[in-house]
Symmetry: C2
Subunit: 477 residues, 2 copies
């Protein structure tokens, strides 16, 4: 009995309906000209669904099977490859040709036959570090894939030295040391309050480990780092054994819970973590943090409640204060909730965020097209010091996925380079990757990579220059 997605209460039937295919496009059609100084690979994660989840599945994104898109650029050309991560979970369901895993991060809703199979859907983010392409899902250890063929290599525990059971999809790479600061929460198993934090050196070896306890069982989807600190916010989505036993997906919003922010000195011990406390905030992702004398600042997209519009705000933590409070200021009211930056300035003083956003006077989102659709879609550069926005409007009935900054080769100036953004074209039911000049967004789109099919709504993206990736052996395959 084959899968039929019609009538599922959470599945759109249009652009963002499940796609469920692997594909290769050699030498993609391009409108405009790709600058020849773009030499490397843009990676993008997508959640998809090979099989139909239970009707109470929370949403059609985060519990889907992980799929990697690879746009490989050289000499003004680009080769596309899309592959599912061959997780143990996906392969078990394919073998059975039916859904075996239940709702989001709730093993009580699984088929008994998969009790001992890794639940990771490997669907959130992708990082190249220590000679491995890590594909991440915060409830599990990473999978690794070949950075060119995207062939799945298996799961990975850093030579056995990463002893936590989970690794978040948002580790941070220190651009000064090349170290990866990784962490896991529910790190001793589902519903545990344990947080494990690791330093992993540029060769992929664990060099430091901390174990912390979360103030409450909240979501810890992302962290931020400075040169001196690791900032660990716990956010007001919570869960419980009773909730899981009742068959619900893991999280529910609880606006009565505070925002708790742990600040851990990178040269300290676990006991040195300091927890700040603020009102509940709805957020998942953080832009960047910076040491400023005895304070730490962090910029992030957030809203004050589950249904409020997102803004870019700044949190300031005074490490000399005896209060456990922190200050909050609005940097910009732009509603884009997946801001990125020039990652060469991560943890450092910086100026620019790059944001897929939309104007605030827009039409309502298209059916099933997600919260960022509607209105005029814009690629933005936000100056986080001044709030000034430069932008490139994208014409048509479109929605933008997460933008990614691509540094210009041989330039070290912050923000000198390009922005790559995957665009959903609702009229042609196909996806584009557009390239804009990060310093001249008002010049418009430089080049558009035309895919002959649609990519459903994606999660996160990363860019790696070919100089840091292994040699290419599969060009004509």
């Amino acid at each position: 009995m084959a899968v039929d997605f019609r009538g599922h209460p959470m599945f759109p039937q249009g652009f963002n309906s499940p796609t469920r295919f692997d594909a290769d496009v050699y030498d993609c059609e391009v409108w405009g000209q790709i600058p020849t100084d773009i030499h490397g690979t843009f990676y993008r994660m997508q959640c998809d669904f090979d099989y139909r989840p239970p009707p109470n599945e929370w949403m059609t994104g985060f519990n889907g099977d992980g799929h990697v898109s690879r746009f490989r650029f050289a000499n003004g050309s680009v080769d596309y490859k899309g592959r599912y991560v061959r997780t143990a979970r996906l392969m078990a369901e394919r073998k059975a040709r039916r859904r075996l895993f239940g709702v989001y991060r709730n093993p009580f809703t699984d088929d008994p036959s998969v009790a001992h199979i890794n639940r990771s859907a490997a669907n959130t983010h992708i990082y190249w570090h220590g000679g491995k392409m890590l594909v991440l899902k915060e409830d599990s250890l990473p999978y690794t894939v070949d950075p060119h063929t995207l062939e799945t290599q298996g799961d990975w525990n850093f030579h056995g030295k990463y002893t936590a059971q989970t690794m978040s999809a948002h580790p941070k790479i220190d651009p000064v040391t090349g170290e990866m600061i990784a962490y896991g929460y529910q790190a001793k198993g589902i519903l545990t309050k344990d947080i494990a934090v690791y330093i992993i050196d540029p060769q992929g070896r664990v060099t430091k480990e901390w174990w912390l306890t979360s103030p409450y069982l909240g979501i810890i989807h992302d962290i931020a780092i400075t040169q001196k600190h690791i900032i660990i916010p716990v956010i007001a989505r919570t869960t419980s054994l009773a909730r899981l036993k009742s068959g619900q997906p893991m999280w529910e919003w609880d606006g009565s819970l505070p925002t708790m922010v742990g600040i851990l000195p990178r040269d300290g011990e676990a006991k040195d973590v300091r927890w700040f406390k603020g009102p509940s905030r709805n957020t998942l992702h953080f832009l960047n943090a910076t040491d400023r004398g005895s304070t730490v600042t962090m910029e992030l997209p957030t809203s004050s409640g589950e249904r409020d519009p997102s803004q870019i705000r700044r949190w300031t933590f005074d490490l000399n204060s005896k209060s456990d409070g922190f200050q909050e200021d609005v940097v910009s009211t732009t509603p884009g909730f997946l801001p990125r930056m020039d990652d060469r300035h991560l943890s450092l003083d910086y100026r620019y965020a790059f944001i897929s956003s939309r104007d605030n006077q827009g039409a309502p989102p298209a059916p099933g097209a997600g919260p960022m659709s509607g209105g005029t879609q814009v690629v933005q550069r936000l100056d986080v010091r001044t709030g000034k926005i430069d932008e490139c409007p994208i014409a048509g009935k479109v929605a933008l996925q997460e933008s990614c900054f691509v540094p210009r080769a041989n330039s070290r100036e912050e923000g000198d380079g390009y922005v790559m953004t995957v665009v959903s074209n609702f009229d042609s039911m196909s996806s584009d990757l557009i390239i804009t000049d990060a310093q001249h967004l008002d010049d418009g789109v430089i080049a558009t990579v035309k895919l002959p099919f649609r990519l459903r709504s994606g999660t996160h993206t990363n860019w790696y220059p070919q100089s840091v990736l292994p040699p290419i052996k599969d060009e004509l395959s």
Copy 2:
């Protein structure tokens, strides 16, 4: 400089614009239920364009790169795979990342660098015979591909015994003997009038060879066979050295040329061929032929001129007559020009044709959608004895590609089985494969295999039960 198809005078920008991708869909979404007695694989050829041909390319089909679609059915499920045939031609263009081959079958328009590279685009038809999956293009020898993985194996000359330079895309498999009757025209090289005909036994060995001379340099795209004869029509599209040297695609219609039909006794020699002559007819494909005492009948879709509507007609050849004429009668005015049949009755007395067609009162074709779009699209069963048509209308803004008959397992009754048809959905910009009951078309569609992308207009299709194909080793790959 990447390819950009915009502005080419012959390329549609919508559904039938180039697709240029390989893809896999494991366990396709299905609406309805696939009968579990369908166990085998439906193959379909598509012409596509990796690179942009010269502006005077004749049309956007026949000179494109060959692409195989594989729909593999078992236990009510279907796995899809689509792969380009890795021809020498395609790989040379991919390596150069630009178009090297010129217009349709005209080597004078090629880049000099490819003078010694096989011109076959392997884009027309696909046959399983003698343990090989043959992918055919009439200007060259076959390529072979793995029937399950679709991996290209190379070109094939039947152990060196097929000495002609070309093999047509329309060989015929004798259902009684299992022999393949294959032929090539322009068989001693481009613009030659030589026709070579071969008998190839079920093990893939050449057992008989004839060499004939065509009455003129016309197209010989298809043949028909009976148990006693091979019927070889030469059709009024012609070419010349002057035409090729002027840079034009090979063929031009010339209504002043006759239709010449060679009838070659299967137990005779080349000198025994008899040429019949009739007025010019516009046709490429033949439905079937049958010995009836001293006459031979052949049914085919044809029109009387290049712009006349196609009909199903019957040609009758009296082998006892001293005249070189033949009789023509109309069987049906249905306009479908790619009729298929229950191939177990090929060369024998038979009753049914299966045709993707449309009603005659339909709206005009959608832009770029081809001559069979517009009006109500219908899957038809035509009784060639009576002219009676049963049909299944297909709702929506759609176009049907070639239908293929799929015999019911364990039934030997003519026409007992299913019809499979690939459907272009212009609204959703995606393709379906629909299954209808060949004996009960008015019951409507039994099952619809939903692809998450579009397949541009295809050429020919074939069905092979798993019982004749090699064991499957790649199910979960």
